[in-house]
């Protein structure tokens, strides 16, 4: 008996606790959390990046959040809401809240640093061509911010995939079920199978994001971003404050 046998067993591929179903649940939770997180983080990041206000608060809270242990947070939220929330929602709500909480900082940081690091020459050129501030934001700064924004969403996604696994401990569905149930039943092959599936999912998403990056990021931008690896002297003062 080995992990391969676990994968080869047809009963693991069908039914309500089969691999496709659990994979679907895992992706569902991940998707919900990411959509909510993006809806919060991207507009906020645009405001922070555009006005330069609240940057320190955002960076500070992101650092503080890293120190908070996810598992502890998850269980704490579960204990807090379990007396008031009925049914299956008692597992879903704390999980989604924690996942959103983890997913917001990378997307937020990616958005505002992306907007701030938009090539000042490009912004200046757009101003010279008579673009309004909104047009500069929409047609110049946001496309320039895309590489960093996308890398923020990528970190968030991987973090969420990883944490959604842990949420199985509370009783949630998803690929983490195999790990937690395997541990409880002393079935190591089930645990290993679940672990391999989660790792494979993370790898696949990482590759998908790399491909997405080559598709949506302007080729000209990729050239300049490579050129800018050598630190550029701060040309910040060259642009009037209102343009940033």
């Amino acid at each position: 008996m080995s992990v391969l046998d676990w994968f080869a067993n047809p009963s693991n591929w069908s039914g309500t606790d089969g691999i496709p179903t659990q994979m679907g649940f895992h992706l569902l939770y991940t998707g919900i959390a990411l959509v909510i997180a993006a809806a919060i983080a991207i507009p906020l990041g645009v405001v922070v990046g555009y006005t330069g206000k609240g940057e320190r608060l955002v960076a500070g809270s992101a650092n503080a959040l890293r120190a908070l242990p996810t598992l502890g947070l998850l269980i704490l939220l579960f204990l807090l809401i379990s007396p008031v929330v009925p049914g299956q929602m008692v597992y879903v709500i704390p999980t989604i809240v924690v996942l959103v909480l983890l997913a917001v900082p990378p997307i937020l940081a990616g958005t505002y640093t992306g907007i701030q690091s938009a090539d000042p020459d490009a912004v200046g050129a757009a101003r010279g061509m008579g673009y309004t501030k909104m047009q500069i934001l929409w047609h110049v700064q946001l496309p320039c911010a895309l590489p960093l924004l996308l890398s923020g969403i990528r970190s968030s996604t991987l973090q969420v995939i990883s944490t959604a696994t842990v949420a199985a401990y509370l009783g949630l569905q998803g690929l983490g079920r195999y790990i937690i149930d395997g541990r409880a039943q002393g079935d190591f092959f089930q645990m290993a199978g679940g672990a391999i599936l989660v790792a494979a999912l993370a790898f696949a998403l990482e590759i998908a994001f790399t491909l997405l990056g080559t598709l949506v990021i302007s080729p000209g931008l990729r050239r300049t971003s490579r050129r800018q690896r050598t630190p550029v002297p701060p040309a910040v003062g060259a642009i009037p404050r209102s343009a940033r």
Binding site: V3, R56, G60, N63, R66, A67, L68, P69, T70, L71, G72, L73, I75, L76, F78, L79, S82, L158, I161, S162, T165, V166, Y169, L170, G176, I179, I180, R183, F188, M191, A192, G194, A195, I196, V198, A199, A202, F203, L205, E206
Partner: protein
């Protein structure tokens, strides 16, 4: 809330904190040591850099709970052996730090390197006595991120039954008690902050030529 739980379990809490500290510090130090040569290689070789940075990025994507379980199958260790946690966290630390070490070495002003060369330093002397010390602030910044995330990741090992502060979370969940849970969270955060400040302090000791003001 009944505070006697804390006093009754003080020895347990102490033990868990110590093993948490051990499980965090060992891989952080091992990771730093391993990442120095790889980071140097990535800095040094044009072809090595994308390879090393790419591999590190892929390793970092593996969810921690999954890595804790996959490692025993690769290494032949027992699933409950804390060595799996140490190795997994070493892998993450290396994945995070190789890039940082390479960036740190690249941040050394070319004038400093040339001056050392002109003074007759051999390449290994230049590396150890000039480039690495000058790169300390950048490496320390990466190490702070690594140690703080390691404190948090170690708690996942509680799901496998390896004792550390995360065991207080699972205990809190099983008994539906806030006190162990909150004690565990608070101790984790305190541990992360203390280790973070320790690195800031050590880095400022190692770079006496730098301005004393601590950047936020």
């Amino acid at each position: 809330m009944n505070h006697t739980w804390i006093w009754e379990n003080l020895p347990l809490i102490g033990d868990l904190t110590l093993s948490h500290l051990w499980l965090t510090l060992t891989p952080t130090l091992l990771g730093l040591i391993v990442s120095l040569p790889f980071g140097w290689w990535a800095h040094h070789s044009r072809r090595g850099r994308p390879f090393i940075v790419g591999t590190a990025g892929l390793l970092y994507t593996i969810p921690s709970l999954a890595l804790f379980i996959i490692l025993p199958t690769i290494l032949g260790t027992r699933i409950l052996d804390p060595i799996n946690i140490v190795i997994a966290l070493t892998v993450y630390t290396v994945a995070l730090l190789v890039r940082v070490v390479a960036d740190g070495l690249s941040s050394v002003p070319i004038e400093a390197v040339q001056a050392a060369e002109a003074m007759g330093y051999r390449s290994w002397q230049r590396l150890l006595l000039v480039q690495l010390p000058v790169a300390v602030p950048v490496i320390a910044a990466g190490l702070r991120v690594a140690v703080v995330s390691n404190v948090s990741i170690v708690t996942m090992a509680a799901l496998l039954g390896i004792p550390q502060l995360g065991s207080l979370f699972t205990q809190g969940f099983q008994l539906r008690l806030y006190l162990p849970l909150v004690t565990g969270i608070v101790l984790c955060v305190v541990l992360a902050v203390v280790l973070d400040l320790l690195i800031v302090w050590l880095a400022s000791l190692a770079t006496p030529w730098r301005d004393r003001t601590v950047a936020a």
